[in-house]
């Protein structure tokens, strides 16, 4: 709807003749956000805890919630490496004292976990609240987030088993984070103002300095590493990943044995595209059972194939737990058959 009042029209004419771009110029575009709207979306929590909602939760409640909502992906103790990299582990009591995870520099850490890296506890609170659980983001209440985080902090031996984490004491917890002193912003890759001007980088000064030598630049060529044979074939038939005409051809990388593997990979693709892999893992349970668990259960049943095909089509409940599998009418019958055969043949 247009509503031009006379004074506004005069103002618009006036400002068009100047370079100023005042916000009245874009009249009719956008509207004020209501306080309820801002509250609904403004969920971020900063390192100074601005934005943190009031609330609390204890380790015990966190343990229950974690088992129910998080353990299928992260393992009961945040240790699982099956779906995502581990959350917990890799730090010592001494790290809590120093605020530097020693394993990062000593090379003793086989793999970095969330708590070997994170330097700001607000980060973890913010992320659990906005993005977890994986399949139902933003479904946790603030008290539940406090509880889950309390449980993780206890797993990491940062807080005791009877700890109640709250908006009041989260700042004290920050002072115990094992890698709280492990971050630096002294580098040239922040595109804003440098630290000396109130920003966070070094002003764009690079850390490498190659020279553009043109002739006889070095006496010999030192080869650091070459492509291992397994890596040559792990990415399928490279011949088929290039045009069949032009100055070059894709190199043929697969023999008949490897071609079977590629077919397996094709079925895995199909399973992924059909949405199966969101809930099923190859080996272990995510939401529904892992495929090797399915094989184990059905291995002595002669009609396993037809029963599973029917189950995939119509959905089911109760065999593997309380969460039902939805009907899969969107998947073509022939694809369901392919998938079931692949699962029963020891999917890879």
């Amino acid at each position: 709807m247009f509503r031009f009042s006379k004074p506004l029209f005069v103002f618009a004419l006036f400002s068009a003749s100047t370079v100023a771009v005042g916000f009245e110029n874009y009249s009719g575009v956008g509207r004020a956000a209501t306080p309820a709207e801002v509250k609904a979306w403004d969920i971020d929590v900063r390192p100074d805890f601005k934005g943190l909602p009031k609330g609390s939760g204890n380790v015990e409640r966190g343990n229950e919630l974690f088992e129910e909502k998080c353990a299928s992906c992260h393992g009961s103790f945040g240790e699982s490496n099956e779906v995502f990299t581990p959350l917990a582990g890799g730090t010592t009591k001494d790290d809590i004292k120093t605020g530097n995870v020693k394993g990062l520099s000593s090379g003793e850490l086989p793999q970095r976990t969330t708590f070997t890296k994170v330097a700001t506890i607000s980060t973890v609170w913010d992320y659990i609240y906005r993005a977890m659980p994986w399949t139902a983001p933003k479904s946790l209440k603030p008290d539940e987030v406090y509880a889950i985080l309390a449980y993780l902090l206890n797993l990491q031996e940062i807080v005791p088993a009877d700890f109640v984490l709250s908006d009041k004491n989260i700042g004290d917890v920050q002072k115990l984070l094992p890698n709280r002193n492990g971050m630096t912003t002294d580098h040239g890759m922040w595109p804003g103002a440098p630290a000396k001007k109130g920003g966070i980088g070094n002003g764009g000064k690079p850390d490498t300095a190659n020279k553009a030598c043109m002739k006889n630049c070095k006496p010999e060529v030192l080869i650091g590493s070459t492509l291992p044979e397994y890596a040559r074939t792990a990415h399928g038939e490279l011949r088929d990943q290039n045009r069949s005409f032009g100055p070059v051809r894709g190199t043929q990388t697969l023999g008949p044995e490897a071609a079977k593997k590629a077919a397996d990979a094709g079925t895995l693709d199909l399973a992924t595209k059909s949405g199966c892999m969101a809930c099923h893992g190859m080996k272990s349970k995510i939401v529904g059972p892992g495929y090797s668990e399915v094989v184990a259960r059905y291995k002595d049943q002669t009609d396993a194939e037809s029963r599973l095909i029917a189950k995939v089509k119509a959905g089911g409940q109760g065999v593997w737990g309380s969460i039902p599998m939805p009907p899969n009418g969107h998947i073509k019958d022939e694809d369901i058959t392919t998938l079931v055969k692949w699962i029963l043949n020891g999917s890879k």
Partner: protein, 431 residues
């Protein structure tokens, strides 16, 4: 290419194409084989069907698709890289692309909690402040409204911070698709973010950082410095290569942050918050941090430094024959324009300057080409980019000396491709 031809190439018989010309003719038109063999190529001597029959009418494919003979260059995942498709990566097939624009359908993907095809009539962009002193009023915009505002169209590259990250320690993957394919370049269209912030009455003196937030399950959040917003570089894009963004690339709205790693180009953008401090969100405090040999992590490392790669020929390809080749590749810098690209055919002992093809734009891919006559002997091809700041792309040795081998992100080392007598090209690291 038939299996025989592949074997011929593998066996180093590089004149196979000339021989197979007659063999193919014989197979396709057996009765004319004798004539074809003596007089020339049957594809010339006999008019093919497409020259002697009626073709398809306009709009047979109302939204056009590539030729059915172009089925091989696709976005692909690297097996074993991620365990969940919703938090995975697909790589753009750089080995077969031309020029600097990535076709929208082949643009690489990186999602953090799966992608959605969002209804644009229900999508909203909110602008608010960390507190009331930073912004006069919080506002909400619809797509209808955003598309009424003054727009810009600019060509920029986008590169994931983890591009080439698999290769920090050793050679790990066979082709340029997997070494460098988390890289794309498009013409994006949208509204400069400063237009929106000024429309809301931002106080630039206090508000020195911006938080961008997505509408997907992960509600991806990243901190952007206000200097980049004030310069007009950062914009809220709805268009890509003349059409709306594709769903996998953030339809209907994403942030464009030129020169900065892709994770900051927040997709399905739903909220911009201005603040006076950085936010240390999960993807700038747990991931996208660079582990140095001393155990410290570099945080907020965002700029993609100058880098280049030869795409033709590249790993996993085989040269057909000795003789002339146009060696072609891509160069880019998050700090501005590409000034020069040098190419070496002997593993970096000697270099020659390549031709830069226009347009050479700010924080965009730049195509380079150079002439080469392959004499059939082994060679190691490299390219080295220099940007307008004078920064020269580092060697692996130089990069690892500073950052070790566990950094994961921002690997911009010089890439090497080894060619052996058979013509096969493979990935190799020269220190």
């Amino acid at each position: 290419m038939s299996d025989e031809q592949v074997k011929a190439v593998a066996a180093g018989r590089r004149d196979f194409l000339r021989k197979s010309l007659f063999a193919a003719g014989a197979a396709m038109a057996a009765p004319l084989a004798a004539r074809a063999a003596s007089e020339g190529d049957v594809n010339i001597l006999e008019n093919p069907a497409w020259t002697t029959s009626l073709g398809l009418p306009v709009a047979t494919n109302p939204y056009g698709m590539p030729s059915k003979y172009e089925s091989q260059l696709l976005r692909r995942e690297s097996p074993g890289l991620a365990r969940v498709g919703g938090a995975s990566v697909s790589f753009a097939p750089l080995q077969g692309l031309f020029g600097i624009i990535t076709p929208s359908g082949l643009h690489f993907e990186r999602h953090h909690q799966g992608w959605h095809d969002i209804d644009p009539s229900k999508h909203r962009l909110m602008v608010n402040g960390s507190d009331d002193s930073l912004l006069k009023k919080a506002k909400v915009y619809t797509l209808d409204e955003l598309m009424r505002l003054p727009s810009v169209s600019r060509i920029h590259f986008i590169e994931c911070g983890a591009n080439t990250g698999l290769e920090w320690g050793n050679v790990a993957v066979p082709t340029v698709q997997y070494t460098h394919g988390m890289l794309s370049c498009s013409e994006f269209t949208g509204v400069p973010l400063k237009v929106l912030l000024e429309d809301c009455g931002v106080d630039y003196k206090k508000a020195r950082y911006v938080l961008a937030e997505g509408a997907d399950g992960s509600s991806m959040t990243r901190t952007i410095p206000m200097e980049m917003v004030e310069s007009g570089e950062v914009f809220v894009a709805y268009g890509q290569n003349g059409e709306m963004l594709r769903p996998e690339n953030g339809y209907p709205l994403r942030l464009v942050v030129p020169g900065v790693q892709g994770v900051s180009w927040v997709k399905w953008l739903r909220r911009i918050e201005v603040g006076d401090k950085p936010y240390a969100t999960k993807d700038e405090a747990v991931h996208y941090i660079d582990l140095l040999p001393n155990g410290q992590h570099r945080q907020y490392s965002s700029i993609q430094e100058a880098k280049s790669v030869i795409t033709t020929p590249s790993g996993g390809q085989t040269l057909l024959d000795k003789g002339f080749y146009n060696v072609s590749g891509l160069a880019w810098s998050g700090r501005g324009r590409i000034k020069q690209v040098d190419v070496s055919f002997d593993g970096g002992i000697n270099w020659q300057t390549a031709r830069l093809e226009g347009p050479i734009q700010n924080k965009a891919l730049t195509r380079f080409n150079t002439n080469w006559v392959w004499d059939g002997s082994p060679a190691i091809l490299q390219s080295r980019a220099i940007d307008e700041t004078g920064f020269v792309q580092p060697t692996y040795g130089q990069l690892r000396k500073v950052r070790g081998t566990k950094s994961i992100y921002h690997n911009n080392a010089i890439q090497s491709w080894k060619i052996i007598e058979s013509g096969e090209v493979s990935n190799v690291q020269v220190l």
